[in-house]
C-alpha cells in the first residue's frame, strides 16, 4: 500500500481557521453562540482532541458497527424475547426509549452548534462526527423499538414522548434543553460531552447493557453498548476545551458549567435510571444497585476526571453523595404512585425478597421507604385500590421539574427551598437546584412547571383526568402496575400464614 498514515495529514485537515475580512470575527463567531469567554481564534487553535479519527476511518468503522448491531436485531427478530420478557424489563425499555431516542437526535443539533460556532478547528471536525453519531443514536433507537409498536401501545412513546407535556418529559426536556440545545458551542462541549456523556451515558448504556444481557435481551444489550462506543469518542470533545479555558484564566466559568450540568443529570437519572435499576429490573438480573453503579461510573469517574483537569469537585459534592442513597427511592415511589401519568408500567419491586435486597444495598430502607410501601401494600392487599391511586399532583421543583421530596421515617426531612425573583415565588427541591437558578435566572424565570400551569388554570378540568389529557396520555398508554399486582399475593399468603399461627 502506498497511502499516507493518518497523522501525516490529520493536522492539515484541522488547520482551517482563517481571519475573516468581509465580516467581523464577532459576526462569524457571535459570542452568544461561540462562547462569551473573550478568547480569540488563536487561543482556540491550541485545542487538541485526544481521540482522533478521520472521515474515511469514521465511515468504515461506523459501517462495521451498524452491521453488527443490525444483524443481531435481524437474527433475534423472531425470538419472542420481547413477548416473553418480564413486564418489569419491558418497562425499562419503554422508559429508556421514550426519554432517550429523540433526545439523542436533538443532540445532533447540539453537536452541529459546536461544529458551526466553535473557534477550535479540531472541535469543529470532531463535532461533525459527533453530529453524525447522534443521528445514528436517534435513528437506531427509533428503529429498534418500532419492531414492538404493533404489540404494545406504550411502545408508541418511543417516538411520541418528546411531543407531550407528560411530566417526566417536561423534566427531560428542561434538562437537555438547558445543557445542550440553548447553550453556546463551548458550553455545550462542557455540559453535554464532558459533564453528561462521559459519566452518565456510560452508566445508562453500559450499566443497562449489563442488565439487558442478564435479562436475555441481547438485541438491546448490543444496541446500547454499540452506541456507547460512539459516546466514548465524542464525549472527549469537552476535555480539551476545559484545558483551553483553564489555561486562559476561565476556570471559574468552566467549573460553574460542570457543576450545573452534573446536578441536572443526577436529578434526571434519579427518576429515570434509579427506579429502572433498583426496582424494575428483575431481581435475579440485577448486576449492581443504582448506587453502586453511580459510585463506580459517576463518583469515581468524576473525581478522577475533575482532578486531572485541574477542576474542583462541585461545591455540593457532600449533598450529592448523601442523595445517592435516597433520592431515587422517592422518585420511584412517586412515579409508581402516579403511575397513570407515565408511559410505562412501573414495577413496584417490593416483594419480601426484593425488600431484603433493598435493605442490604440501602441499610435502613425498611424503616424509611418501607414504611410508606407498607401502606400501599396494605391498601392493595385489602382491595382498597382507590387509595392506591393519586388524585392530585405532587409539588414539583422549578429547576429539575421533579417532585420535591424527602426521606420518610424518623428523619423526615422534606423541605422547600424557596426564592423570590422579580416578584414571583419559586420553589426548589434542594439548595443546589436553587443555586442553579440563581446562576442565570433569565434562562429559567419565565418557565412554568406543570404545577404552575395547573395553578394557572392551564390544565382543565383541574383533576387527574384533566392532567392526563394535558399530558396527552390516554387509556391504553397510561401506566399501571407492571405485574398487575401479582406481588400482592405474596403478602396475602403471608397474612394468611400469620393468621393460621
Amino acid at each position: 500500500m502506498a497511502v499516507l498514515n493518518r497523522m501525516d495529514w490529520y493536522d492539515l485537515a484541522r488547520s482551517t481557521n482563517w481571519t475573516p475580512k468581509y465580516v467581523a470575527e464577532d459576526e462569524l463567531f457571535p459570542p452568544k453562540l461561540s462562547g462569551e469567554f473573550g478568547l480569540p481564534l488563536t487561543a482556540w487553535e491550541e485545542y487538541d482532541e485526544p481521540y482522533k479519527q478521520t472521515y474515511p476511518e469514521y465511515v468504515k468503522v461506523q459501517r462495521e458497527k451498524d452491521a453488527g448491531a443490525y444483524s443481531v436485531k435481524a437474527a433475534l427478530e423472531r425470538s419472542r424475547i420481547f413477548e416473553n420478557a418480564d413486564p418489569g424489563w419491558k418497562s425499562v425499555m419503554k422508559a429508556h426509549y421514550g426519554a432517550i431516542a429523540r433526545g439523542e437526535y436533538a443532540a445532533a443539533s447540539a453537536e452541529a452548534r459546536m461544529m458551526r460556532f466553535s473557534k477550535a478547528p479540531g472541535m469543529r471536525n470532531m463535532a461533525t462526527l459527533g453530529c453524525m453519531d447522534e443521528i445514528r443514536h436517534g435513528q437506531m433507537q427509533l428503529y429498534f423499538p418500532h419492531e414492538h409498536v404493533a404489540k404494545d401501545r406504550q411502545m408508541d412513546w418511543a417516538f411520541k414522548a418528546y411531543d407531550t407535556n407528560e411530566w417526566a418529559m417536561i423534566a427531560a426536556r428542561h434538562f437537555f434543553d438547558d445543557i445542550m440545545m440553548t447553550r453556546d458551542a463551548i458550553s455545550v462541549s462542557i455540559m453535554l460531552t464532558f459533564s453528561f456523556e462521559t459519566g452518565f451515558t456510560n452508566m445508562q448504556f453500559l450499566g443497562l447493557a449489563a442488565d439487558a444481557a442478564e435479562a436475555g435481551d441481547h438485541t438491546f444489550a448490543n444496541l446500547i453498548s454499540s452506541i456507547q462506543t460512539d459516546e466514548s469518542r465524542h464525549a472527549q470533545i469537552g476535555g480539551p476545551a476545559l484545558k483551553v479555558l483553564i489555561a486562559n484564566g476561565q476556570k471559574q466559568e468552566a467549573q460553574k458549567r460542570v457543576d450545573i450540568a452534573l446536578w441536572g443529570a443526577w436529578k434526571l437519572f434519579s427518576v429515570l435510571t434509579g427506579p429502572i435499576m433498583d426496582y424494575y429490573t428483575p431481581l435475579e438480573h440485577r448486576k449492581q444497585s443504582f448506587k453502586e453503579f453511580m459510585e463506580e461510573w459517576i463518583v469515581a469517574q468524576f473525581e478522577r476526571a475533575l482532578t486531572d483537569m485541574g477542576l474542583d469537585l462541585p461545591w455540593y459534592w457532600d449533598i450529592f453523595l448523601k442523595d445517592l442513597s435516597e433520592t431515587h427511592h422517592g422518585m420511584h415511589m412517586g412515579s409508581y404512585y402516579w403511575r397513570p401519568t407515565v408511559w410505562w408500567n412501573p414495577s413496584a419491586g417490593i416483594t419480601p425478597a426484593e425488600r431484603d435486597w433493598l435493605e442490604e444495598k440501602y441499610p435502613g430502607w425498611n424503616d424509611t421507604w418501607g414504611q410508606c410501601w407498607d401502606v400501599i401494600i396494605d391498601n392493595v392487599v385489602d382491595g382498597n385500590m382507590a387509595k392506591a391511586y393519586p388524585e392530585t399532583l405532587p409539588y414539583v421543583c422549578n429547576m429539575c421539574q421533579l417532585p420535591i421530596l424527602g426521606t420518610p421515617g424518623k428523619g423526615w426531612n422534606v423541605k422547600d427551598y424557596p426564592l423570590e425573583y422579580q416578584g414571583r415565588l419559586y420553589h426548589f427541591g434542594s439548595e443546589v437546584d436553587r443555586w442553579v437558578f440563581e446562576q442565570e435566572p433569565e434562562r429559567y424565570a419565565g418557565h412554568l412547571s406543570i404545577v404552575d400551569r395547573f395553578l394557572a388554570g392551564m390544565i382543565q378540568p383541574m383533576n387527574l383526568e384533566g392532567a392526563l389529557a394535558y399530558m396527552n396520555i390516554g387509556p391504553g398508554e397510561c401506566g399501571d402496575d407492571a405485574h398487575n399486582y401479582a406481588w400482592a399475593e405474596v403478602y396475602r399468603a403471608l397474612r394468611a400464614e400469620r393468621k393460621a399461627v
Binding site: W18, M115, R173, G476
Partner: protein, 328 residues
C-alpha cells in the same frame, strides 16, 4: 365509563399511522423528529424570552419562506445514517484506492512543476472553502424546521468534511513530491490574500453570517454550493485533465457524486417551497441578491485556471441551468 376508548397498538408510530402506506425505514427514523415546534412561544423548555428561544422563533419559525408543513419534506434518496456509511465507505474505498494506485505509479513525480504551483495556489487552499461549506451546512441543519431537511444538511456537512479531507491528504502528498512549493504552509495565505480566492471568501463569509433559515438555505444550496462545485470541482477537474493530472480529475468526479445527491434533495426542497404562494418571488429576490457575489467569485477563480478558456462562462452558465431547471 363505558365510552372510554382504549388506545390499541398500531402498525407504526401514531403520527404515521393515519396513512395507508407501510412506512419505509427512512420514514420511521427520519420524520418529525424535532420537538422545538410544540410551543410557538417557547421552542425550548426554558424561559420563552431567553436568547436561544428568541433565536429560533426569529430565524427558524419567522422566516419569510413559509410552508404549512415542512415536516412533509422527504429526501428523494431516503438516506439514513446506516445507508450513508455504506455508501460513503464504498466511495472512500474507491478514492483511497485511487490515491494508492497513483502513488504507486509515482503520479505526482510526473506532474509539471508549473502545474504543481497551480495546485498550491488553486487547489490546496480549497480546504478552507470546503470547511466553510461544512460549517454552513451545520448551521442550516440546526435551524431547519423539519428533521428530514436537517438530516440532508448534516449529511452534506459530513460530505464537505470528506472533500476537505481529500484536499488535506493530497496537500500532504504534494508537499512530499514538491517540498519547495509551500504545500501545507501557504494555503491560509492564498486563501486570505490571493485575489483568486477573495470572491469565494467573501461569498462564504457572508453566507456563514446569514442567520435567517430561509435565506441561508437558499443562499447555500442554490447559489454558494453550485458556484463552488462548478468552479472548484468541475472546472478545476477539467483543467487538471489538461495538465496531466488524471488523479485530480477523477477525484473531483467522485466528489461531484456527493454534489449531485445534494442537488437532488435541493430540487425536492425547491419544488416543495414553490407550493406556497410568494415563495417564488422571495427566492428569486434572494438569488438576485447573492448571485452577483457568486459570479464574481467564479470569475476570479476560473480566470486563473490554466488551460481552461471559457471556464468562468461555463461555470456561471451551469449555476444558471441548475436554478432554471428548478423553476428559478
Amino acid at each position: 365509563m363505558s365510552d372510554i376508548q382504549i388506545l390499541k397498538p398500531q402498525k407504526t408510530w401514531s403520527h404515521l399511522a393515519a396513512r395507508r402506506r407501510k412506512p419505509s425505514e427512512y420514514e420511521i427514523v427520519s420524520t418529525n423528529l424535532h420537538y422545538n415546534d410544540r410551543d410557538a412561544a417557547s421552542p425550548y423548555e426554558l424561559d420563552p424570552g431567553m436568547f436561544m428561544n428568541e433565536w429560533y422563533k426569529k430565524h427558524t419559525f419567522d422566516t419569510a419562506l413559509k410552508h404549512a408543513d415542512w415536516n412533509a419534506f422527504r429526501d428523494p434518496d431516503e438516506v439514513v445514517y446506516r445507508t450513508y456509511n455504506l455508501m460513503q465507505d464504498g466511495q472512500e474505498t474507491y478514492v483511497f484506492g485511487l490515491f494508492n494506485q497513483f502513488n504507486e505509479r509515482e503520479h505526482d513525480k510526473a506532474l509539471d512543476p508549473r502545474w504543481a504551483g497551480s495546485l498550491g495556489r488553486l487547489y490546496a487552499p480549497a480546504r478552507f472553502l470546503f470547511h466553510a461549506l461544512q460549517m454552513a451546512s451545520a448551521y442550516v441543519g440546526q435551524v431547519s424546521p423539519a428533521s428530514t431537511l436537517t438530516n440532508c444538511n448534516y449529511f452534506q456537512m459530513a460530505d464537505s468534511l470528506r472533500w476537505l479531507s481529500h484536499t488535506a491528504y493530497r496537500t500532504r502528498e504534494l508537499a512530499l513530491a514538491f517540498p519547495d512549493q509551500g504545500f501545507g504552509r501557504d494555503e491560509r495565505r492564498y486563501w486570505e490574500q490571493d485575489p483568486v480566492w477573495q470572491g469565494f471568501r467573501e461569498l462564504v463569509e457572508k453566507a456563514l453570517t446569514t442567520w435567517d433559515w430561509g435565506e441561508a438555505i437558499v443562499a447555500l444550496s442554490l447559489v454558494v454550493k453550485p458556484a463552488v462545485e462548478e468552479a472548484v470541482l468541475r472546472q478545476l477537474g477539467a483543467s487538471a485533465r489538461h495538465n496531466g493530472d488524471t488523479l485530480l480529475g477523477l477525484l473531483t468526479d467522485a466528489q461531484l457524486i456527493d454534489a449531485d445527491r445534494h442537488r437532488r434533495w435541493t430540487a425536492a426542497f425547491v419544488a416543495m417551497a414553490l407550493e406556497t404562494t410568494g415563495n417564488l418571488e422571495l427566492m428569486m429576490a434572494w438569488i438576485a441578491c447573492w448571485a452577483p457575489l457568486a459570479d464574481r467569485a467564479i470569475e476570479a477563480y476560473c480566470g486563473a485556471l490554466p488551460d481552461a478558456p471559457g471556464a468562468a462562462d461555463a461555470a456561471r452558465a451551469a449555476t444558471r441551468d441548475i436554478r432554471r431547471g428548478l423553476g428559478l
